[in-house]
């Protein structure tokens, strides 16, 4: 009897839920009296960032009764699986938040709208060309297009325990005068005392971190020949950063071996305890430190070390428009509003990342010393388009070849020659399939 009652209640609830549920995803109104409806898939996940996103959407909706935006929250872990299906099924959201590495494949498959002729002049000029380069890809038909508006970027910095840093007596690097990799290694050695290490490299996902830093020595990892074919290359330039990190782990023993298999944020509890002094990480990790660090814990943000240059590979967060969107012009208007300088500063603060907008970067909140914003923002000038962004097949190379090979290398199970061979030989087999 109870089961029957429960089922009856469920039936009523289903009816209510089904009737109340939205239908049609990116369904668009066609009546001239009804507002245009746009779905905006956002990947914001931090509290402040979600709040900033929702606030901007509300602002837009109030000011633009004719173009109503629906905020749809997605998640970073699954967004590309979600989009693959929705693109194939023709139900993708109008405005899509993603990151630049994901855009190349979608662009060449024809799922994203080329924005180069739709970008308003003020938005175009406010974002520097290197950021636009991260979203410029082949259209799959021999041409080049702009498939997203880049708005937040991540650079690598070093989050350091101030007390241990001061005690070591090393020179404190600044944005204008960062450590060289040699100085960084020396500093890590000086900070290694007893059971405390100088640095911790969290290498659960080693590829983007090492490839972005490899640009310090001109390491591109990919080269395109005269025949237009891209192959993997691991020469001396590419080996520098790999070798230096490996040395810290296994030669100098100045890097905490426990952190090796951990994700980016996992070493933080040990960091607060002083188990190691420095944590190379993306700028966004400062938010976790601010939120979690015990009272009285002092920390600073240091610039990443430099090699022959301080260049780092840039990956942008982006807003794109689906090719199938019925309202691309309205979607572009929304993007222009959403990513203006003032709003980008809000979004960057919410996500603890760097805005691409020059107006946003000049916002006093982006240059304050508090929580290392000054160092983080200054690091944006070193960001250049990461060569791997343009490589068709990079995702497969990364997951099937580079991640396991680099993990083995950093765990000292294979030599640098062996890792280089794997990256090149196995990698080229992967790339070959994408270039037939």
């Amino acid at each position: 009897m109870r089961i029957t009652s429960a089922l009856a209640a469920a039936a009523v609830l289903t009816l209510a839920a089904a009737c109340g549920g939205g239908g049609g995803g990116s369904e668009s109104s066609s009546s001239p009296n009804e507002p245009v409806k746009i779905d905006f898939l956002s990947l914001a996940w931090q509290k402040e960032s979600v709040a900033a996103n929702k606030q901007l959407v509300d602002e837009w909706n109030k000011a633009n009764p004719g173009i109503q935006v629906t905020y749809v929250q997605g998640s970073w872990d699954n967004v590309n699986d979600q989009l693959v299906t929705q693109f194939a099924g023709g139900t993708a959201p109008d405005v899509i938040h993603n990151d630049s590495p994901a855009l190349s494949g979608f662009a060449s498959d024809g799922y994203l709208l080329d924005l180069k002729d739709k970008l308003p002049a003020d938005l175009k000029s406010d974002i520097p060309q290197p950021a636009w380069d991260t979203v410029t890809f082949g259209d799959g038909k021999g041409g080049q297009g702009v498939y997203g508006v880049p708005f937040l970027q991540e650079s690598q910095v070093i989050i350091a325990n101030k007390k241990l840093l001061d005690e070591s007596g090393v020179r404190i690097p600044t944005a204008n005068e960062p450590w060289t990799w040699d100085e960084f290694s020396e500093a890590a050695k000086k900070m290694t005392k007893g059971e405390s290490y100088g640095v911790a490299w969290a290498m659960k996902s080693p590829v983007n971190k090492t490839l972005n830093l490899a640009l310090n020595f001109g390491g591109t990892f990919f080269q395109t020949g005269a025949d237009g074919k891209t192959t993997v290359k691991v020469g001396q330039e590419e080996r520098e950063v790999l070798q230096r990190i490996h040395d810290q782990l296994h030669k100098d023993k100045s890097a905490d071996p426990d952190a090796l298999g951990q994700g980016t944020a996992d070493p933080l509890p040990a960091f607060y305890k002083g188990k190691f002094a420095m944590l190379p990480a993306g700028v966004y990790l400062r938010q976790q430190v601010v939120e979690q660090a015990p009272d009285g814990f002092e920390w600073v943000t240091l610039p990443a070390p430099k090699g022959t240059s301080a260049e780092q590979g840039a990956v942008s967060q982006t807003l794109s428009i689906a090719q199938e969107s019925e309202h691309p012009d309205e979607a572009m208007k929304f993007i222009s509003f959403f990513l203006n300088g003032t709003n980008q500063a809000k979004l960057a603060k919410g996500d603890w990342l760097l805005p691409t907008s020059q107006k946003a970067a000049a916002d006093p909140a982006m240059t304050t010393e508090e929580n290392g914003w000054d160092v983080a923002t200054a690091s944006a000038k070193n960001l250049v388009v990461a060569p791997f962004l343009k490589v068709n097949g990079f995702d497969e190379w990364k997951s099937k070849v580079a991640t396991p090979a680099l993990q083995e290398y950093f765990a000292n199970k294979i030599t640098i020659d062996q890792v280089a061979a794997k990256l090149v030989e196995d990698g080229n087999k992967v790339l070959e399939r994408y270039q037939r």
Partner: protein, 272 residues
């Protein structure tokens, strides 16, 4: 003495089973600083409800739980309703078609979901079922049905054929013998299958992710994943608080259904 040791063993087992739930509760009540300690604490030093505030403030947890409950209930009931007669036929009738059907049920389990997700999505789109809970119910029934069929078939086989023959000798028709003799003995199996289907649907994420796009129809797994970021970074406090609240509807369902499981077991014992 023997009884005491049995109780000790039982308590230890319950504590073991309850560990994830207790840890979830403990985490949900901790401050971010306490969560980042290298020596985790069982009892929060400075308990806070802020995580619950954040979880409920940012996401429609109540609505999502309700929708998940509705989808899981319907998917599980429909699965059982469809699979029960099919399982009976598979267990009682031996023919080539039957064998092929059983083989196909097994083969269907080896396909990865990702292979079928795009064609399934297209079919649902053509049926105008994208972004609707009935659409998700259809999908959940589709993917739980083969295993439910397999489970129930085993339960039907376990009921002695002789009982039906005895009922037939007493003059019962096949339908009557199924209703009066087989059905009560199958009750535990039906409830177990119902639970399996419910859990599968309740936890299902991938299909819901691609089928449901409107925030107003999203189910609980989609809502919980909103507290995670790139590279496995998560907002543990709100995630734990939301996950804790998310367990309540399924606990209520289990509390209701487990009595049925017990009564079904007893019915089987008497008839057997």
């Amino acid at each position: 003495m023997r009884r005491a040791s049995q109780y000790v063993a039982l308590v230890a087992y319950v504590v073991f089973l309850a560990f994830p739930l207790l840890w979830l509760l403990s985490t949900a009540l901790k401050t971010p600083q306490e969560m980042a300690l290298t020596e985790p604490t069982w009892i929060p030093r400075e308990p806070t409800l802020a995580n619950f505030g954040d979880a409920f403030g940012e996401q429609d947890l109540v609505g999502a739980s309700l929708r998940s409950l509705v989808v899981a209930l319907f998917a599980s009931v429909i699965t059982v309703l469809i699979s029960l007669p099919a399982a009976y036929a598979m267990a009682r009738y031996r023919s080539l078609i039957n064998k092929i059907a059983i083989g196909w049920v097994l083969v269907s389990q080896v396909f990865p979901f990702i292979l079928i997700i795009i064609p399934l999505f297209m079919i649902l789109r053509d049926l105008d079922l994208i972004n609707t809970l009935p659409g998700l119910v259809v999908v959940h029934v589709t993917f739980t049905l083969p295993f439910a069929l397999w489970m129930l078939q085993g339960y039907v086989r376990a009921v002695p054929r002789e009982l039906e023959e005895a009922a037939a000798v007493d003059g019962a028709s096949r339908l009557r013998s199924i209703a009066s003799v087989v059905a009560p003995l199958l009750a535990p199996g039906v409830v177990a299958t119902l639970l399996f289907s419910f859990i599968s649907s309740w936890n299902e994420f991938m299909f819901a992710l691609v089928i449901l796009q409107d925030p107003d129809v999203m189910t609980l797994p989609l809502t919980l994943v909103r507290f995670t970021g790139p590279e496995g970074v998560a907002r543990l406090g709100p995630l734990a608080a939301a996950s804790l609240m998310a367990t309540i509807p399924s606990l209520i369902f289990f509390a209701i259904i487990q009595r049925r499981l017990k009564s079904g077991l007893m019915a089987g014992a008497v008839k057997g």
